[in-house]
């Protein structure tokens, strides 16, 4: 049991209070996932930036120098060994990740991209808000997660959303179990993909990256995951300008969808939609074995079942 939420503002307003909306949706989902909470907000843009988790807290000057050597400029420090940095020169995300791995083998990039801003930590949505002031942040679309761990550790690293390592501006949240995770992971590791956690949900981002690298569209990759993943899953994907869901063929996990002229909202339970968005719209459960992808640009809707 976990709670997932997603929201996309169709009106393309730069000042849309996305943080508050996602937080209001996540709060009633806190009881589904008391272990950790996280959001990935998409807004702004222009320059590539990343958020980094390092295994030990390093002095600001030493860290700044070390990051500089890797082509990064330190922007901000957060508690718990989390740092924001800006890319000074253009660099492939995978190359950067490899360079950072050599320097800090237990560190990890939590998110990277022009528009993505992901925050996650152990604890409730209220604690996430206290640490990162999510409610004040704006954006066009985003996803959120409240986690109840069943298979793997409870720490920041195993929390969601997961950035799809190597793919700028792509993140996922997942409710359920991918039961052929070990088999898929073995195959992907043989192909050279690196895993940062023991959380089965991490496989979604790796899978999507692999399919995209093979020339599939995001929509095609999401659709084929319906056949390639076993188990129970509802997962959401957000890219720099898209939001989508995939729901397993048996409908083992709940997901409610509400779409109006103004927004697309997705949540594990309707209570999240009502608390955050009111009562002037209807909501329904998408059929099992379906997926759909929306774009923030209204004229460019990728619409599929």
């Amino acid at each position: 049991m976990c709670g997932i939420v997603g929201f996309l503002d169709k009106r393309e307003r730069a000042d849309f209070p996305l943080g508050r909306t996602l937080l209001d949706m996540m709060r009633p989902m806190a009881c589904r996932g008391p272990d950790s909470a996280g959001v990935a907000l998409f807004g702004g843009g222009g320059e590539e930036k990343l958020r980094l988790r390092l295994p030990v807290e390093i002095g600001r000057t030493a860290l700044s120098d070390a990051l500089h050597e890797e082509g990064l400029m330190l922007m901000q420090s957060h508690p718990g060994g989390v740092y924001d940095a800006r890319l000074v020169a253009e660099m492939e995300a995978t190359d950067l990740e490899e360079r950072l791995r050599r320097r800090w083998p237990d560190g990890e990039i939590l998110c990277l991209g022009e528009r993505i801003d992901a925050f996650k930590q152990v604890g409730s949505p209220d604690e996430l808000e206290a640490a990162y002031a999510i409610a004040a942040r704006t954006g066009t679309h985003g996803i959120g997660h409240t986690r109840m761990s069943t298979e793997s550790r409870v720490d920041l690293s195993h929390s969601q959303p997961f950035w799809a390592h190597g793919l700028p501006d792509v993140a996922t949240v997942h409710n359920g179990h991918i039961t052929n995770y070990h088999k898929l992971r073995r195959r992907f590791e043989q192909d050279g993909y690196r895993f940062f956690t023991d959380n089965d949900s991490e496989i979604i981002g790796v899978y999507l990256r692999d399919r995209l690298a093979a020339g599939r569209s995001l929509e095609g990759a999401m659709r084929s995951s319906l056949d390639d993943f076993d188990g129970s899953f509802c997962y959401l994907v957000a890219t720099k300008d898209q939001l989508g869901f995939v729901k397993d063929r048996y409908g083992f996990k709940p997901l409610m969808l509400a779409e109006t002229e103004d927004f697309v909202a997705l949540a594990t339970e309707e209570i999240a939609l009502r608390r955050a968005l009111g009562h002037d719209f209807s909501a329904s459960e998408p059929p099992p074995g379906t997926m759909k992808l929306w774009s923030i640009h209204a004229d460019n809707e990728e619409n599929t079942q």
């Binding site: 339970e269 309707e270 209570i271 909501a283 329904s284 059929p287």
Partner: protein
């Protein structure tokens, strides 16, 4: 006069307790305001009380109830009226998975669409869906009637023992061991009355799905039927 419960700032337990207190005090009608899709509202109500929820409800609304009349002015989450013994649950909007699962009696009306597994394992009662239903509706039902005015999803009434499913629209796929029949005069009269009673606009005609009864008893000669059913 009706008794009013405002859900704001109240826990589910508090709301259900107030409902019971109001019933004990003799109130016949209860209005529940701002239910906000909370779970487990109106569960196990055992009196013929009339409860109106002013908005959407969450999981298991009216579950295990016996004789109450519930109206939902919104949608319902998973397992609406699950294991109900008797009474009515009227849902103005859509219903999540497993609506009217395992009910033994009474009537569930969903004016919108029902998600997957509506009316599974029904042991009596009636489920009326004004819109369409998702896959596996009526799976292993044993008694009772499901009426779908719109389309039905895949694996409809899979492995049903008894009971009947009426479908007005398209059937995406029939479940194992089901047979499609034409409704008889008695069926049509019953359907007309049901739709009129609940003011649901029905289609011009229905198809009737019943059990093929091949899975009732194991027969070696029909091994292929059994293999296909898994």
């Amino acid at each position: 006069m009706s008794f009013t419960i405002d859900c704001r700032d109240k826990s589910t337990r508090e709301i259900n307790r107030r409902m019971r207190e109001a019933i004990a005090e003799g109130h016949q009608r209860i209005e529940v305001l701002e239910p906000d899709a909370r779970h487990n509202l109106g569960v196990a109500l055992l009196s013929p009380v009339h409860v109106v929820f002013s908005g959407s409800v969450g999981y298991y609304c009216g579950g295990m109830m016996d004789g109450a009349h519930l109206e939902v002015r919104g949608s319902a989450g998973w397992g609406a009226a699950e294991s109900m013994l008797n009474g009515t649950l009227m849902i103005d909007g859509n219903a999540g998975s497993g609506a009217a699962a395992s009910i033994r009696g009474g009537t569930v009306v969903i004016r919108g669409d029902a998600a997957a597994r509506a009316g599974v394992s029904m042991k009596g009662g009636t489920l009326l869906i004004g819109g369409s239903c998702g896959y596996m509706a009526g799976f292993m039902m044993q008694k009772g009637r499901i009426v779908v005015c719109g389309d039905a999803g895949d694996a409809l009434a899979d492995s049903m023992y008894e009971g009947v499913v009426f479908v007005g629209g398209q059937i995406a796929g029939l479940g194992n061991d089901t047979v499609v029949e034409e409704p008889n005069a008695e069926d049509r009269a019953w359907l007309d009355e049901l739709l009129a009673t609940h003011r649901v606009q029905g289609p011009t005609s229905f198809r009737k799905v019943v059990s093929g009864r091949k899975l009732w008893n194991f027969d070696r000669k029909e091994l292929e039927v059994w293999k296909a059913a898994f």
